[in-house]
């Protein structure tokens, strides 16, 4: 059996998780550092409603750029993210079956759940779980969310994050990410290498730091302004903007260690405020399904201003 291509792997995961009742979402059109930042995870893990989704999220990590020269490190890569709320009793079995769906023979490989608790200071979030090892390789992060934005998750969700490139390299048995078969004619390198070199150069050498410092402030202010108008989702997006700008500034090396802390704290405060507002508005959004309720929700937002 020929190993599945990169895009085929995504399609198979989509099919698998769609069959498990997940909403198959598209990537968040924001520059984020991890799939967790997608509103479908960060915001939707709050509140008592059931929620199952799966999506691919392109991730940006400016400091990880290696000008297309490192076989494993990229400033832009993909995560496959699954969120299951509340956490199902058979979470582990579901995950293992998903591995089989992309052609990993669980009777031939050594699959381990190795303790790895997850924490995101930027989101005020934490969870307990494992990193899943396949023959010594970290293949996925498996987390039971306990807190988000400083709030206890009630109920707890299962979050699965697959490192798609790593998994594909494992499945296709190649040594460098650029040799991955994206499909049967194109390699990952064909698709991304040029952009990787350009982005690395931009992030490390070119990005206009004065402009970015200003953009950070603008994004921060705009997020706060949206929050004042009780508009959680827009506020959250501007918060993510600020977070990404901070990451680029960090890669440019213009942020001192002390300032670093304060930048992270500023983003965290916004993210927390978004979570707080999301929870506060839950009662009013439970049934936003018909025109009347939409009108009611708009009125509710008006009242707060």
């Amino acid at each position: 059996m020929t190993p599945c291509t990169f895009q085929d792997m995504i399609l198979r995961l989509h099919t698998y998780w769609a069959n498990e009742g997940c909403v198959i979402l598209q990537p968040y059109d924001m520059q984020v550092g991890a799939g967790t930042f997608h509103w479908a995870t960060t915001l939707r893990c709050l509140g008592g409603d059931d929620w199952k989704c799966a999506y691919v999220q392109p991730c940006r990590r400016p400091t990880d750029g290696r000008y297309g020269q490192n076989p494993n490190r990229l400033q832009h890569y993909y995560q496959y993210q699954v969120m299951l709320k509340p956490s199902p009793r058979e979470s582990q079995d579901l995950y293992l079956a998903s591995l089989q769906s992309i052609g990993i023979d669980v009777k031939k490989h050594d699959i381990r759940f190795v303790e790895d608790d997850w924490e995101s200071p930027t989101l005020g979030a934490s969870g307990l779980g494992w990193e899943v090892w396949i023959d010594g390789m970290e293949a996925s992060q498996f987390t039971y969310f306990q807190q988000m934005g400083g709030y206890d998750c009630e109920p707890v969700s299962t979050e699965l994050t697959y490192g798609l490139e790593r998994l594909a390299m494992f499945v296709q048995d190649v040594d460098t990410v650029y040799d991955l078969k994206f499909n049967h004619t194109m390699s990952y390198g064909d698709v991304y290498r040029r952009a990787e070199i350009e982005h690395s150069t931009y992030n490390f050498e070119v990005a206009n730091t004065d402009m970015l410092l200003q953009h950070f402030k603008d994004a921060e202010n705009e997020s706060a302004r949206a929050l004042e108008r009780n508009l959680t989702h827009p506020a959250y997006e501007h918060c993510l903007n600020a977070s990404h700008i901070f990451n680029v500034l960090d890669a440019r090396g213009v942020i001192s260690p002390t300032e670093r802390e304060s930048y992270i704290a500023r983003v965290r405060d916004l993210a927390k405020a978004c979570c707080t507002q999301y929870i506060e508005n839950l009662a009013h959004t439970a049934d936003v399904c018909d025109d009347t309720s939409v009108e009611q929700y708009r009125n509710h937002l008006q009242k707060k201003t």
Partner: protein, 746 residues
């Protein structure tokens, strides 16, 4: 007599929790059994990453009858109290007995508890035990309120061959009913339910590829590793006992069916420093390593898989080799880069950007302070000038590797990498060694630095940290010690003690604080005094503590050969059980057979650290503990002598300016003998051989007893009385020079 099986089937529990959890769970089950009046023969605990289990043998099928006498209110108590009591015991007033108690007459109820079948009370016992297992970290699952290390899957509870009828309440209306069906190995089993009972549990699981006995898995892995070493003509490193055992324990906790496989380290990476390779292999990949040809790393690793793979493990080995290859490629890149840049690193410019603590400046600032303090230590230890220069040189580059790529990637290699890069750049080997050793002791089981160049730098680094935090008012409180200042303090004490350094610790603290006076506002005398108390209390605490004080500690101090193990237990327990675990709740579990030094002995000897005699004091406290009889006798003698002297003082006798009138003294041979005996004390005190001090005390004591038996102190002859009183006063003062006998308890 019947057997009980309880198995908690869970998702993978972190390896570091399993040993404690196994211990607690079986302990809690036995505790609950006892509380319900159920006797048993034997309890056997089991654990794997997915299971915690016990098998209890020799349980009665029915609880023994029990009669309880419950005390009620006094007969004079108001009606209400009596009614309440009657209600609580479910009896009438006529059923009560009136009995005498020390507080007068009171009602008593004699309650006959009806014996219940064991199987009926088991749910209570099982659930209480499960709920009370303490975890360093625990979690909730879905909408349940129950907390456990990881989600529960099943609870198997079988008494004889019967399923115990019960369920564990998970909160929010959810519960988990007991069953007699478990699951086998996640991948090698067939996925079907397996019916088990106490007699078949271990064998049935074995058939389903689960070795449920922790010790058997450990034995198996250990045996295989040794065979592999033999086949490869290799051996284990001398730290096998510690490092590998720790790794072994972790690995045993990661697998249900261990299969040991061997892979190769690619030749091209074998040129990397040994520590880099070993860190990557052991810490990051959990591989076992071997040595060959003396102390050289052999180009092999062993990994323990949790599966006997269908292809014999080829894919597993290949996968692991690939991951290792990628890791080592990174390391090689970092290493070459660092070697190239080492001379830039040692200018410490990069350290100006690393904040040590916001109030205490950058690491570059710290380096300057360390240099000053280390110099003072070296001077106080009377080093020659050129040695002092080398100490300063070592201090200057002791943290230069913090800006290296390798340390950025593997923080645990700080110091070690500095050593390699310095050696590579041709730095004198003991200075290079000092870069690595100044972090010592890194933990409880780590030794202290012992070389002339390393010790002052190590003390300086720690003292700077301690004093800095003290100066800005950051101190450990209760269980919170985020900057590990307790360990820092113990580190200083250990270095001084284990090297028998004649160093006044407080002089060094004084110097360390001095370097902060320009940047921080604090009252130096107050901080210094407070720090002295902290350090002294740390030392005393270590000496007194039952749970951290071991016989080997004594040996280490006395023989000054092996590391003090004082911290060891503290560390081991912290590793496995983090804060918040109610360790004090389960003293029975901690079968510490070792004994601390009596607190009064410690207090009587260690009154200040503001001198160079710390080593002497600790050995003396140890000596006292080992000769409690002699100390008690001496205490009795001291008390008698002191009593007489104190009475005389109250009667107006002034001990000041009294001289022994030798002529008068020589008239009485007992007085003379006593006088002579106390002259030996000073000699004894200069000798660290504790036994001599104790022997001297015994000797004085004999003379003292003879003196009391034969001499009347309070005579009318004032010259004679004055001489005897002065002599006794001298005796008490000499005793007090050794230890504060007023503090010592009888």
């Amino acid at each position: 007599m019947t057997e009980l099986l309880v198995e908690i089937l869970t998702e993978e529990i972190p390896a570091r929790f399993q040993e404690q959890a196994e211990k607690y769970f079986s302990y809690l089950v036995t505790k609950e059994l006892k509380e319900h009046g159920l006797s048993y023969d034997k309890i056997t605990p089991y654990s794997t990453p997915r299971r915690l289990a016990v098998i209890v043998t020799g349980l009665p099928t029915i609880q023994p009858d029990k009669v309880e006498d419950r005390k009620g209110p006094s007969i004079d108590a108001p009606e209400q109290a009596l009614n309440g009591f009657l209600k609580s015991v479910g009896l009438q007033k006529d059923d009560l007995e009136i009995r005498d108690t020390p507080k007068g007459q009171a009602y008593f109820a004699v309650i006959h508890h009806k014996a219940q079948p064991t199987i009926d009370i088991l749910p209570n016992i099982i659930n209480t035990a499960i709920k009370n297992i303490p975890w360093g970290k625990s979690m909730r699952f879905a909408d349940e309120t129950f907390r456990f290390a990881r989600p529960l899957q099943r609870i198997v509870a079988v008494f004889g061959t019967d399923i115990v009828q019960g369920a564990l309440d998970l909160g929010n209306g959810k519960s988990l009913s007991y069953t007699n069906k478990t699951l086998g190995h996640r991948f090698m089993g067939n996925g079907e339910d397996i019916s088990v009972c106490p007699k078949t549990y271990e064998s049935k699981l074995k058939d389903s590829y689960v070795i449920v006995d922790w010790e058997k898995r450990r034995g198996h892995i250990s045996e295989k590793l040794q065979k592999i070493a033999k086949d490869l003509n290799c051996d284990f490193f001398s730290d096998y006992n510690f490092f590998n055992y720790k790794l072994l324990k972790e690995v045993v906790g990661l697998v249900e069916y261990p299969v040991v496989l061997v892979g190769k380290i690619p030749e091209k990476y074998m040129t990397l420093p040994k520590d880099v390779l070993i860190t990557s292999l052991r810490e990051h990949q959990k591989f076992f390593v071997f040595k060959q040809d003396g102390d050289t790393l052999a180009p092999y690793f062993a990994t323990v898989a949790n599966i006997d793979a269908t292809d014999g493990g080829d894919a597993v080995i290949k996968g692991n080799e690939k991951v290792l290859n990628a890791r080592l490629a990174d390391s090689m890149f970092f290493y070459n880069n660092d070697v190239k840049n080492w001379n830039t690193y040692t200018q410490n410019k990069g350290l100006e950007k690393i904040v040590f603590h916001e109030k205490l400046g950058t690491v570059a600032d710290k380096i300057n302070r360390i240099e000053t303090i280390a110099k003072t230590v070296a001077q106080n230890l009377e080093y020659e000038e050129d040695l002092i220069t080398m100490v300063k040189e070592c201090a200057k580059m002791c943290k230069s590797d913090l800006v290296s790529d390798m340390v950025f990637e593997f923080p645990e290699l700080q110091g070690t990498m500095g050593k390699y890069y310095a050696l590579n750049a041709g730095v004198y080997q003991y200075i290079a060694q000092g870069i690595e050793d100044h972090y010592k002791p890194r933990g409880a089981s780590d030794g202290v630095p012992e070389e002339d160049i390393s010790t002052p730098v190590a003390i300086a680094d720690k003292m700077d940290t301690l004093c800095g935090f003290w100066a800005v008012g950051i101190k450990p409180t209760g269980s919170k010690d985020p900057y590990a200042l307790r360990r820092c303090a113990l580190g200083i004490l250990r270095i001084v003690l284990e090297n028998n350094l004649k160093l006044n610790i407080m002089d060094i603290a004084h110097t360390a604080l001095q370097s902060y006076t320009e940047t921080l506002a604090f009252d130096r005398d107050t901080v210094l005094a407070d720090l002295e108390i902290f350090l002294r209390e740390r030392l005393k605490h270590t000496l007194i503590s039952k749970d951290i004080f071991s016989a080997s500690f004594r040996e280490a101090i006395i023989r000054k050969q092996t590391p003090i193990l004082g911290e060891l237990r503290e560390e081991v327990d912290k590793d496995t059980i983090e804060e918040n675990t109610p360790r004090h709740k389960f003293p029975e579990l901690y079968g510490y057979h070792t004994q601390g030094i009596r607190h009064d002995y410690v207090a009587s000897v260690i009154k200040t650290l503001d001198d160079t005699r710390t080593f002497y004091k600790v050995t003396l406290a140890l000596a006292m503990q080992e000769h409690t009889d002699s100390v008690s006798t001496a205490k009795a003698g001291y008390d008698r002598a002191n009593g007489i002297v104190q009475n005389a003082i109250q009667d107006g006798w002034n001990p000041q300016n009294q001289n022994i009138d030798t002529t008068t003294l020589n008239q009485n041979r007992f007085a003379k003998a006593l006088y002579d005996s106390i002259q030996n004390i000073e000699n004894a005190q200069t000798n660290v051989r504790h036994k001599i001090i104790i022997d001297t005390l015994t000797l004085i004591n004999d003379s003292l007893n003879d003196f009391f038996d034969n001499v009347m102190v309070n005579t009318d002859d004032t010259t004679l009385r004055n001489t005897y009183l002065t002599l006794l006063h001298m005796v008490t003062e000499r005793f007090k020079d050794i230890a504060d006998f007023d503090i010592i308890e009888k």
